[in-house]
């Protein structure tokens, strides 16, 4: 984005405060444009009235993200990558999560291939109200045979509607694959110094995004990107090579830093999303598969944090995939969203006077974890969020933000009386705050039961301990 204050964007708006965008003033709308929570399309006069056409075009140019946004695939599951404006997430937020593509090879047995694709497409983990999912399939032309590759691509596309990356350096092989999925906007991997003309032509002919690849040579990478861009290809992804170990890995890390810094600083010829290949961990001669998988996750972590926008990975072991998808979510969570929920009494399901009463802290992650654990197991209850300044249970007990007085205050503020609003006068406290049990009994005049250390164990705990004897 070339501008950074609402005042600069305001100049290009109709300045009528018509309110059609849903904001009371054009200035308010301008600040939404600047923090990227609003789009120019949300302003009907600007879009519809001819007299604003020039301003609209100028404004869109100024608002365009520094790093180009590239879309892979079609429909709901299309993967949007790039689009960033900052080098550090706290400066704004990072947009468009790093996309995790997992490989299949065209020389796999058909049944094994289909099973693996299903595994990729079906993997999911529930996390604070949403599912973490995997993003796509990279088909490797390991056979080098156009017909075999086309058959594998066809099988993958029949099995899933996830976006695809077609991987080969042979234009004939890529073309065979493209023919099969020409309506699905796959990412072409890759144009390099030897095949760039032919692969560039394929990208133009089929109108698909394309990776340019130059191993540890940023001049060559920029040359390829510039050449393809001048030929009218806009959707470019950069592959500076990902070396799995040693000094080569350090060089790779440095390349990622340099490319992104140059892009954010305004070098448009290199301001494209970057592809990382943690996959190469499997080429480093690491004997033990668990260690190889761990190293792949280590590489994925480095490039999730430092500017990888899309990754090709191999290990589908849950112990690899779970931390990888959590780290992507961690880095791409909007830091502008609040840390805490309101300190209040919440109803999970439809609680009655017989239902148990729990409390937890108002740290958003803690609260939502507890809530989803309870809700997904169909337990009706009262759940009090105690205001601990947005700190989790264990740390808040240690730091003095969670005390018996705080718990009592929270009940008072919520207007909830354990003696009247339920018929058991009992509070279940988090296992991690067990040491407060006596104090809370005294300050509330209620029975206090110590719940499990982890809210995931509430269902089992309930079976044994609820209702209280």
């Amino acid at each position: 984005m070339k501008i950074n204050s609402p005042l600069q964007a305001y100049k290009y708006l109709p300045q009528t405060n018509c309110g059609e965008c849903g904001e009371p003033t054009c200035m308010a709308f301008a600040s939404k444009l600047i923090d990227r929570s609003g789009k120019t399309a949300d302003c009907p006069p600007l879009v519809k009235e001819k007299k604003f056409a020039k301003k609209l075009a100028e404004l869109e140019g100024l608002l365009a993200p520094e790093i180009r946004e590239v879309i892979i695939g079609v429909g709901e599951k299309a993967a949007k990558i790039g689009g960033d404006d900052v080098l550090y997430r706290h400066k704004l937020t990072f947009f468009n999560k790093t996309k995790m593509f997992f490989d299949v090879a065209d020389n796999m047995e058909e049944a094994a291939l289909v099973e693996r694709v299903k595994q990729i497409a079906d993997f999911r983990k529930f996390y604070v109200g949403n599912y973490l999912l995997l993003d796509g399939v990279a088909v490797r032309a390991a056979s080098g045979d156009p017909a075999k590759f086309a058959a594998a691509v066809k099988k993958v596309a029949e099995t899933t509607d996830l976006p695809l990356i077609l991987c080969s350096f042979d234009p004939a092989v890529l073309k065979a694959g493209l023919e099969v999925v020409k309506d699905k906007n796959p990412l072409l991997y890759a144009a390099n110094k030897d095949n760039w003309k032919e692969v560039g032509e394929l990208a133009l002919e089929y109108k698909v995004p394309v990776v340019v690849s130059a191993l540890n040579d940023l001049d060559a990478l920029k040359t390829l990107a510039k050449t393809l861009a001048e030929a009218g290809i806009q959707d470019i992804v950069l592959d500076p090579g990902t070396v799995p170990v040693g000094k080569g890995l350090k060089d790779t890390f440095t390349n990622f830093l340099k490319i992104r810094r140059a892009g954010i600083d305004g070098d448009v010829e290199i301001a494209y999303p970057i592809l990382a290949l943690p996959f190469t961990a499997w080429m480093a001669g690491i004997e033990d598969p668990v260690s190889a998988s761990y190293w792949e996750t280590v590489m994925a972590s480095m490039f999730t944090i430092r500017y990888g926008d899309i990754m090709i990975l191999h290990s589908m072991e849950p112990y690899a995939v779970l931390p990888e998808m959590h780290l992507v979510d961690t880095i791409y969570t909007d830091p502008r969203t609040p840390v805490a929920v309101d300190g209040a009494m919440y109803q999970v399901g439809s609680p009655t006077v017989d239902s148990p009463v729990f409390f937890t802290t108002n740290f958003a992650l803690t609260y939502y974890t507890v809530e989803s654990d309870i809700a997904s197991n169909g337990i009706d209850c009262w759940l009090l969020a105690v205001d601990t300044d947005g700190i989790g249970v264990e740390a808040a007990v240690a730091g003095g933000q969670l005390t018996s007085d705080k718990v009592k205050d929270a009940f008072d503020k919520a207007g909830f009386d354990l003696k009247k609003d339920v018929n058991h006068n009992t509070l279940i406290v988090p296992g991690l705050s067990a040491r407060l049990q006596g104090d809370i009994e005294d300050s509330l005049g209620a029975n206090v039961m110590v719940g499990p250390m982890d809210s995931g164990r509430i269902p089992g705990w309930m079976e044994k301990n609820w209702p209280p004897k």
Binding site: Y88, H90, D103, D122, R124, K125, F126, R140, A142, G144, Y189, G200, E201, L204, E205, L215, K222, T223, T227, A231, G232, V243, V245, G246, L249, K250, F253, L257, K258, A262, L277, F279, M283, A284, G285, Y294, T297, S301, M302, I305, R306, E317, P318, L322, P323, H326, L327, D329, T330, V339, L365, T366, D373, S376, G392, A398, G399, G400, D454, G456
Partner: protein
């Protein structure tokens, strides 16, 4: 665009084009031809590239060929014209030089802090550990990173509940802090030992400070690496416990963990100065509190800059790591830009990763989840990813537990530090790799 054409129109068209005969073609009277614009595959962008003149010519040929039933355009088996048209787009590479500047405004270096005194400094440690001294974000090319990351492995002064995957490494030494410390150094490559005096908590065993201090002596004798000394986290008792421990460890330059705003930090600072130790300045995910505590340690308690390390709090992957990561990255960037209340090395309680249910629970408590797989492999990688993320944010010292996690974190950070050589790997043909 569609229009009807008479034979005379065609003749007229040919008249301007120097076409004398169409060989092998006969046209019989009263034909009506539909001409739907140009051939389906004709690309106006390509035409533009060829220049107006040749474009017009190409259009004429396309029309003529189309009219007489010749296939025209892409998808109609006419590759020759397509290739001829594309050629000017991809003629030669357009050379470009890549260049990017170093960060000019990272002008303030991070304070270097030594932990441990060797005989040269009047202590008995075999080596000292140095952290800090950076002039850029970790592993960045802007400036050489002077000190690698260090790992201190936990020891507790009593048997405690640990995740199964952790416990199986320590079970036989958990009743002897000295043996535990030795195992950490000799088998698990610990750079340092952290002895946690948790039994001093009035709600656990209420071990008197004097007795707890003996455990510190035991650990100092068992190993010769530098040590960190932790209390129980009880804010009333910790100052007394740490002061006594500092006294028995006089001259060893231990790291006292921790001073915080909710306890008598002045007492801990005083003990550090009196007995020659460093202070860990611990706050909870809040940069401004961190500034406040550092300021108080320096201004009120006169702790010299070279004795302060910060612990801005580690939240585990999936449980607030986004806050912990960004808090550290902000602190480090502010320091490099000149905020001298934050120019200190950082330490992470990376073991907090074992609080994440993914690291220790047998399976997911949520029916909707995919299978989580065997937990013995989940825990170590949870600790690795939590630590590595913070290493990239600027953390220097890691307090860890699982030997596998320690090994991988060290390998990862030292690879980025540049001190690990490896056989070159040819990745150029990764597409055909056998995996």
């Amino acid at each position: 665009m569609a229009k009807k054409m008479k034979l005379t129109d065609i003749t007229d068209m040919f008249a301007g084009m120097d076409v004398e005969a169409l060989e092998g073609v006969t046209i019989e009277g009263d034909i009506e031809l539909d001409l739907g614009g140009l051939g389906g595959g004709f690309d106006p962008m390509l035409a533009a590239a060829l220049g107006q003149e040749s474009a017009v010519l190409a259009q004429h040929f396309a029309r003529i060929a189309g009219m007489f039933g010749y296939p025209v355009g892409i998808g109609a088996g006419a590759p020759a014209p397509a290739a001829a048209l594309a050629a000017p787009k991809f003629k030669d590479l357009i050379p470009a030089k890549f260049d990017v500047a170093n960060m000019a405004d990272w002008a303030t270096p991070i304070q270097e802090v030594r932990i441990g005194n060797t005989s040269a400094d009047g202590g008995s440690r075999g080596k000292a550990v140095h952290v800090g001294g950076e002039k850029a974000l970790p592993f960045y090319f802007d400036a050489e990173m002077p000190n690698r990351n260090q790992v201190t492995i936990d020891v507790f002064d009593m048997r405690i509940g640990l995740a199964k995957a952790v416990k199986q490494n320590y079970d036989e030494v958990m009743d002897s802090p000295g043996e535990w410390a030795k195992k950490n150094v000799e088998q698990f490559n610990a750079d340092m030992i952290t002895i946690h005096l948790i039994s001093t908590d009035p709600l656990i065993k209420d071990t008197p400070a004097k007795e707890a201090a003996k455990v510190v002596e035991e650990v100092l004798q068992a190993v010769d690496v530098p040590i960190a000394i932790g209390g129980s986290g009880n804010p009333q008792k910790d100052p007394e416990v740490l002061a006594k421990a500092a006294e028995v460890a006089e001259g060893e330059r231990c790291l006292l963990a921790s001073a915080s705003l909710n306890l008598d930090y002045a007492a801990i600072a005083e003990a550090a100065l009196k007995y020659d130790h460093d202070v860990l300045s611990w706050t909870q995910l809040d940069m401004n509190s961190q500034k406040e505590l550092n300021r108080k340690l320096m201004k009120q308690c006169n702790v010299p800059r070279e004795r302060i390390i910060m612990d801005p709090t580690t939240a585990a992957l999936g449980y607030g790591l986004d806050y912990a990561y960004t808090n550290m990255e902000r602190i480090r960037l502010a320091a490099l830009l000149g905020d001298d209340e934050l120019t200190f090395p950082m330490s992470s309680g990376t073991t907090n990763a074992w609080g994440a249910r993914e690291s220790w629970m047998v399976g997911s408590p949520l029916k909707e989840d995919s299978d989580w797989g065997p937990r013995e492999y989940r825990g170590p990688i949870w600790e690795i990813v939590t630590g590595l993320s913070l290493a990239l944010a600027g953390n220097d010292l890691f307090m860890m537990m699982h030997p596998t996690s320690v090994a991988f974190l060290k390998k990862a950070t030292q690879t980025l530090f540049g001190s690990i050589d490896a056989e070159p790997v040819d990745i150029s043909n990764w597409i055909a790799a056998e995996v």
